[in-house]
């Protein structure tokens, strides 16, 4: 692709402003299809730069308890893959790019090329694939090329240098660095492995690097913004919508947290 990805533009702008990009995750159809659209729009209004929409899956092995519960609620509500595409279209209309995070089986069942086509036409920027490694991604590499979509594969603290270089070479848009060895979920301490991993990634690519797993407060966002290009927050935001008496309360909590995170990425802690 000669044209730079829309995500790349957002990262460039943030870099020029001396800050990190805030990427906020929400499962499609949680708590309902309309509810998830409202939540994502509220996140954008409060300072999220990029929406990470997760397609709910029955067996999410990379996700901790919060996203598991949210996914279960969305699936019990009957959300379908095609609903996710509609949500992407609506949220993209706000101006914020939407990247889709999905386990592989729902895409394979939809049809890899058909999904890429429909994702591109809905305005989605590309996919984050937590259980797809480049070695198994032949069909997706071809489909993403054909439809001009970004590919974000994960790198982990356990990745060897060789795998890191190979994985990053297959990425487009940005690289997702998993901050620690574990599943999604907010944690009280930030990872010591993450800065090391990010500097290893920087040795092999100029692509922006987003860091996810365990980030849940403004202070943590500021710390991660000190060494990464993007701060990815999921469980902490989603929790605002779990165990809540009503939608207004949930949206207030979501806006408050997003504002704090947005402030955090604008005041990076010097590493």
């Amino acid at each position: 692709m000669s044209e730079q990805s829309r995500i790349g533009v957002v990262f460039d702008k943030a870099r020029a402003e001396g800050r990190a990009v805030l990427i906020g995750c929400m499962p499609a159809g949680f708590p309902t299809v309309e509810g998830s659209i409202t939540a994502m729009k509220a996140m954008v209004a409060a300072g999220v730069d990029v929406i990470e929409l997760e397609i709910p899956y029955s067996d999410p092995v990379m996700d901790g308890p919060v996203i598991q519960r949210a996914s279960d609620i969305a699936l019990a509500g009957g959300v379908r893959t095609r609903d996710a595409l509609r949500i992407i279209e609506e949220v993209t209309a706000t101006g914020a790019p939407v990247v889709t995070m999905t386990y592989w089986n729902p895409i394979e069942q939809y049809g890899v090329d058909a999904f890429a086509r429909d994702l591109a036409s809905a305005g989605g920027t590309g996919l984050i694939t937590p259980d797809l490694i480049p070695e198994e991604a032949g069909e997706w590499l071809a489909a993403s090329d054909a439809h001009g979509l970004d590919r974000t594969f994960l790198v982990a603290p356990s990745s060897t240098d060789e795998r890191l270089a190979m994985t990053v070479e297959h990425c487009r848009g940005f690289v997702y660095a998993t901050a620690l060895m574990g599943v999604t979920g907010a944690r009280t301490q930030t990872s010591e492995a993450a800065p090391v991993l990010v500097s290893r990634v920087r040795k092999v690519t100029d692509l922006p690097v987003g860091v996810g797993l365990g980030v849940g407060t403004g202070a943590q966002a500021a710390t991660v913004a000190g060494y990464a290009d993007g701060v990815i927050v999921g469980s902490a935001l989603i929790r605002c919508l779990l165990d809540t008496p009503d939608e207004p309360t949930a949206l207030t909590a979501l806006t408050t947290l997003t504002t704090a995170l947005s402030t955090g990425v604008r005041h990076p802690t010097t590493p």
């Binding site: 029955s58 067996d59 089986n105 895409i107 069942q109 939809y110 490694i133 198994e136 994960l154």
Partner: protein, 419 residues
């Protein structure tokens, strides 16, 4: 050994030995669909597995453990009264007589040896009915490893005795409360634990499924079933069997007995899946006959799923077959036509269960009863095809002690309880 049936070595260079490919693919199935964080551990395991299998000392230690601790080779027993009812010469591979009561002990001992070889101190496992959990806890006790077993909350309640067994053996049992709270969710939870603790922990997976190298590794540890049965059948009958049958959930016992026969084209291979209340009812666990190709738990295989690729819950009277996927090598054996897969309903399995009890004085596991029922179902057709009485080797993969409550309820013979 009769002339014409022997092969020069057990390690045949025939087609069966060529799969999977180095990346773990069986044709279009298998592979590795996992978080990147696990790839390093899977690579480490792959290397450890291959070097161990090439190491004579490792193989000798495994063989000695199987012989002295697990009680193998298991017998190949000619079930004459059952044979008369089946219309076939039925030879039972008595894996039910192994220590811990099933073929699974072979897999856990092999993987426990590998765990020690990799210098890891902790094993985790998933379990449905609790049999693999008990086997893992047994091996962990023997090898002085910490052991955590994940078990769906629904299963911890219906298999309370096995929970107690695991605890007696020193394991920690963690009830899993997410998703459908059964085996597949226990597997998810074990994967999550493994991602977080991969440095000191081995995931001792219970069947020939999951990401590469597990399907090949588990097959290597259970293939002794077929190697033994092939030789025992030759010794007993002077010929190879006409058919080999086994039940298929994840499919480790079936692969264990099939593998030695895959390169013998005259030997028909039959896998019997859990048809539950009938494949048409939607309440079954027949992933091959009632599912479609997809990705589940790190591998591409046949899966019970809806149109969006969400896993559908499985149903079977047999907890050990109650899983919505199947090992990728079975998916491939199905696609190539080398093995045939057929569903057996709960009722058919229980009728065969009762028949073996009454004709042979052997209480089989309900899982294995699917293989017995399938044998009864195919024997007539096979006899007609061959124009003579067929010889069928059945993998009696486990004993039925664990199923007394379920079977007692099914037959309505528990005092003070209605069926």
């Amino acid at each position: 050994m009769s002339a014409g049936h022997g092969r020069s070595t057990a390690e045949s260079a025939g087609p069966a030995a060529q799969f999977p490919d180095p990346a773990g693919h069986f044709g279009r199935f298998g592979g590795r669909f996992v978080p990147e964080a696990l790839v390093a551990a899977l690579e480490e395991l792959d290397v450890a597995h291959r070097t161990a299998m090439a190491d004579e000392a490792f193989r000798a230690e495994f063989a000695a453990l199987l012989r002295d601790y697990a009680g193998t080779p298991s017998l190949l027993y000619e079930a004459r009264r059952f044979s008369a009812r089946a219309g076939a010469r039925v030879l039972l591979k008595r894996e039910d007589l192994n220590h811990t009561g099933a073929h699974k002990v072979r897999n856990v001992l092999g993987q426990a040896l590998l765990t020690r070889r990799m210098g890891k101190k902790r094993v985790i496992a998933e379990t449905g009915a609790g049999q693999h959990g008990v086997a893992t806890a047994t091996a962990a006790a023997l090898f002085d490893l910490d052991c955590v077993v994940y078990m769906g909350q629904v299963d911890t309640e219906r298999q309370a005795l096995n929970v107690a067994r695991m605890r007696m053996l020193g394991a920690t049992v963690v009830p899993v409360t997410t998703g459908s709270r059964t085996l597949k969710d226990a597997m998810n939870e074990a994967m999550r634990d493994w991602v977080a603790n991969v440095d000191d922990t081995h995931y001792l997976i219970g069947t020939a499924a999951g990401p590469h190298p597990f399907p090949a590794l588990v097959r290597d540890f259970v293939r002794g079933i077929g190697d033994e049965a092939r030789q025992q059948c030759l010794d007993l009958t002077g010929a190879l069997p006409d058919a080999v049958t086994a039940c298929v959930g994840g499919g480790s016992n079936a692969l264990g007995i099939f593998h030695a026969f895959v390169d013998d084209p005259q030997v028909r291979l039959y896998g019997f899946e859990a048809g539950g209340e009938g494949v048409a009812s939607g309440r079954h666990a027949a992933s091959i006959t009632g599912g479609s190709a997809g990705v589940l738990h790190g591998t591409r295989t046949y899966v019970l799923q809806d149109a969006d690729g969400q896993t559908v819950e499985s149903h079977s009277i047999s907890a050990g077959l109650d899983y919505p996927g199947v090992g990728p090598e079975h998916a491939w054996l199905h696609d190539t036509g080398r093995a045939s897969y057929l569903p057996i309903t709960d009722d058919e399995a229980m009728a065969a269960f009762e028949l073996l009890c009454r004709t042979e004085g052997i209480i089989p596991a309900i899982e294995s009863s699917h293989a017995l029922a399938g044998t009864l179902a195919i024997a007539g057709k096979l006899a007609a095809e061959l124009g003579r009485q067929p010889t069928i080797v059945v993998n009696l993969s486990g004993r039925g002690d664990k199923d007394v409550h379920t079977a007692g309820g099914y037959f309505g013979i528990l005092d003070g309880e209605s069926a």
